[in-house]
């Protein structure tokens, strides 16, 4: 194992920017506003800030302190950082999460990052110029359908993914110096791009209103996000969403902070550095993140559109269309700013994901940084290609759920137990304060020992047995029915209700109810479209416009004079090959599980298992490496 006397950070500002860059990711601009909208706007911000203070900051200190402690004993990845804190074998295998999560997340995260890179190109090439809202949205769907191409490059999405991965790998091969340089350029650029878009959004007002969207007003979006609703403090769902967002935004429970901090010497500060990096991330999320997507979308499409359509797709399916309202030159500039800032937010995070693997392989097997970086790139490529090829089949979602969500909570819960209860709070508090340039409030000592672990346990149980529709009040009153998104439902495949066989000779109807409305043969694509109608909720606004109410509860909370009503409308369109046989007719009433077509089908249940098997194989592979490294340590202590 090599001594890392020569490795480390160039400057303190570089370290903070790299840590902030690690935390600032796509979620700051995409996940935060969506979470805020879906949890009632201003209802979200108070629980969010409280969770930052009593869960985010304590976990930041723990991860920085654990990392520095392990690093000074020659360990730069969580398996042996944890091992240095307690010699029970279980801890180094729990530490495997700190490498596993990074590779699992990098595999699909680099794919999203590659979209931003591609969209920068398309913004410059003015691909979106003249496209309608539907066409812009369709562009994204085509892009993620492997095989289609908008540039003439075959397998365009795969090519951009590989380019993005190569770029990450090349920078990683330059070591921490390379990561630091990217952070020093990327974070300030990201702040400038974000500030430019935020200023534009703040000056938009009602200028984007059109006859199609007469009530569009950017201030409605800001109003909705910031009107406090104190009743939300009693809603478990909002608290869990707020705690979850703090996790993702600060990159907690991943092992990247440990790795970065492991290159800090024991007399150097971590308390102030972590607060500085943490608040930089919060600035990007709370100030810039809240002032871009939601206000701009509300400024052109109306607040009710935002409430109905808030989601990850807004960044790629809606924003390029909205920028077209600013004229060709400004649209190009705005596209470069928006996708450029997302790219820098993404790459500073994905680079961090490579360092735990590199640190581990260097410490335990003597691999140099080039070998470490290129092996990381290769593993991510192997793990990532299924998410690219089977994006629409759900492999991406499996990675996001198990590696990018559940693993973080499990890992953070374990690390706080190790730090506060096994390593010991007295020793732990001394470790946090060692070399500190700031005096920390002692109230955080009991918070770290008692409050944060309790919150993490609640978050974990909340994810484990999430009640139906995330409605905790109803579950406590009327009995517990598990939501399809709960860990228990996922583990037991309760969320897969039909088309359970991996391969089948027929397709089953996967909605509760519906009526076959049309069956259309499309000769150009050699497909058959089957349209299903169902009773859906709609509303009529004061301008007489009728729109679908996808999020009725929040729309009602706006207190506007919307008139809600039910109406039958197309709820889903199935597309089959023209060699498949449709076994239903127009007018047939369908129920969940009814047979609708015959042919040869590979169901999504197969891709669900594929995703899980790949992740499990990765975890086992890293565990074997840790076991082998442990043996080596015994032979050559």
């Amino acid at each position: 194992m090599s001594d890392n006397n020569n490795s480390g950070w160039g400057s303190r500002v570089g370290l903070i920017l790299a840590m902030a860059g690690n935390a600032v990711g796509l979620g700051n601009f995409l996940r935060f506003p969506v979470q805020a909208v879906q949890n009632g706007g201003g209802a979200f911000i108070i629980p969010y800030l409280i969770c930052f203070l009593i869960m985010g900051i304590p976990l930041l200190w723990i991860e920085w302190a654990s990392g520095r402690y392990g690093g000074n004993l020659g360990n730069h990845s969580t398996p042996f950082i944890f091992d240095s804190m307690n010699k029970r074998k279980i801890w180094k295998y729990i530490g495997v999460f700190g490498i596993f999560t990074n590779i699992g997340v990098a595999a699909y995260y680099c794919y999203i990052e590659s979209w931003t890179l591609s969209y920068v190109y398309h913004s410059v090439a003015q691909t979106f110029n003249g496209l309608s809202d539907v066409e812009t949205s369709k562009f994204f769907e085509n892009y993620t359908t492997v095989g289609s191409s908008s540039t003439g490059i075959p397998y365009e999405s795969v090519v951009f993914y590989i380019v993005c991965l190569l770029l990450n790998t090349w920078i990683l091969s330059k070591g921490l110096g390379g990561v630091e340089k990217v952070a020093k350029i990327g974070v300030p650029l990201l702040l400038i791009f974000g500030a430019l878009l935020a200023v534009k959004s703040l000056t938009l007002g009602t200028s984007g209103a059109t006859p199609a969207n007469p009530d569009a007003n950017a201030w409605d979006g800001i109003n909705f996000l910031w009107t406090p609703q104190f009743s939300s403090l009693l809603d478990m769902k909002v608290w869990l969403a707020a705690a979850g967002q703090i996790f993702f935004t600060l990159s907690l429970g991943m092992g990247t902070i440990h790795c970065y901090a492991s290159y800090i010497k024991k007399r150097d500060d971590i308390a102030l550095n972590s607060l500085s990096a943490g608040f930089t991330n919060e600035f990007v999320e709370v100030v810039l993140g809240s002032l871009i997507v939601v206000p701009i979308a509300a400024g052109y499409l109306g607040l009710d559109w935002v409430i109905n359509n808030a989601g990850f797709g807004m960044a790629f399916q809606t924003m390029p269309y909205l920028f077209q309202n600013w004229g060709q030159a400004l649209a190009t500039f705005a596209g470069v700013c928006w996708f450029g800032l997302l790219f820098f937010a993404g790459i500073t995070s994905s680079l961090a994901m490579g360092t735990p693997w590199m640190g581990f392989m260097n410490d335990e097997f003597g691999w140099n940084r080039k070998k470490g970086a290129w092996s990381f790139g290769l593993i991510v490529l192997i793990m990532g290609l299924p998410t690219v090829f089977f994006f629409n089949e759900g492999v991406f979602d499996q990675y996001d759920y198990w590696a990018g969500t559940v693993s973080l909570v499990v890992f953070a819960l374990c690390e706080i137990i190790l730090f506060a209860w096994i390593f010991g709070m007295t020793k732990g508090w001394d470790e946090i304060n060692k070399g500190s340039d700031i005096k920390l409030p002692k109230i955080y000592k009991p918070i770290i020992k008692y409050v944060t672990p309790v919150i993490l346990i609640i978050v974990f149980i909340g994810a484990l047995i999430t009640p139906k529709d995330n409605d905790w009040n109803a579950a406590f009153k009327n009995g517990w029915e598990l939501d399809d998104g709960s860990i228990v439902s996922k583990l037991t495949n309760r969320d897969i209700k039909v088309n359970k066989d991996y391969f089948s000779d027929h397709k089953e109807f996967d909605q509760n109810d519906g009526i076959v409305s049309t069956i259309t043969k499309v000769d150009s694509t050699k497909t058959i479209n089957l349209e299903i109608m169902d009773t859906l909720k709609f509303y009529r606004n004061k301008f007489g416009q009728v729109k679908q109410a996808k999020n009725e509860k929040i729309l009602r909370s706006l207190g506007k004079d919307y008139m809600f009503f039910d109406s039958v409308s197309v709820s889903k369109t199935y597309t089959f090959k023209n060699t498949d046989k449709i076994v239903v007719q127009v007018g047939d009433v369908l129920h969940l599980g009814d047979k609708i077509a015959e042919g040869k089908f590979t169901n999504n249940s197969f891709y669900v298992v594929l995703g899980r098997v790949l992740l499990l194989a990765l975890f086992v592979f890293i565990s074997i490496l840790v076991w082998k490294a442990g043996k080596n340590k015994l032979k050559h202590p």
């Binding site: 090599s2 001594d3 890392n4 006397n5 020569n6 490795s7 480390g8 950070w9 160039g10 400057s11 303190r12 500002v13 570089g14 370290l15 903070i16 201003g42 911000i45 800030l49 730069h76 070591g175 921490l176 110096g177 201030w219 800001i222 109003n223 996000l225 910031w226 009107t227 406090p228 290159y263 800090i264 010497k265 007399r267 150097d268 500060d269 102030l272 550095n273 607060l275 500085s276 608040f279 930089t280 919060e282 600035f283 709370v286 100030v287 360092t355 590199m358 640190g359 260097n362 140099n368 940084r369 080039k370 470490g372 070399g435 340039d437 700031i438």
Partner: protein
Amino acid sequence: MNTSALITLLITHGLVTFFMVYFFRKVLKAPKHAEPDSFSENDDEPPVLITGEEEI
């Protein structure tokens, strides 16, 4: 924009911005720790790589 939203926005944005600037300023103004510290850019001499070693 309603008053309560404006107050919440201004307080939250103000607090987050204040603390970010406050902590970053404190970092910049903090006295340098005695060498060897964790940062190579303030070293008197450039680091010397020992043969066969590479920094991460």
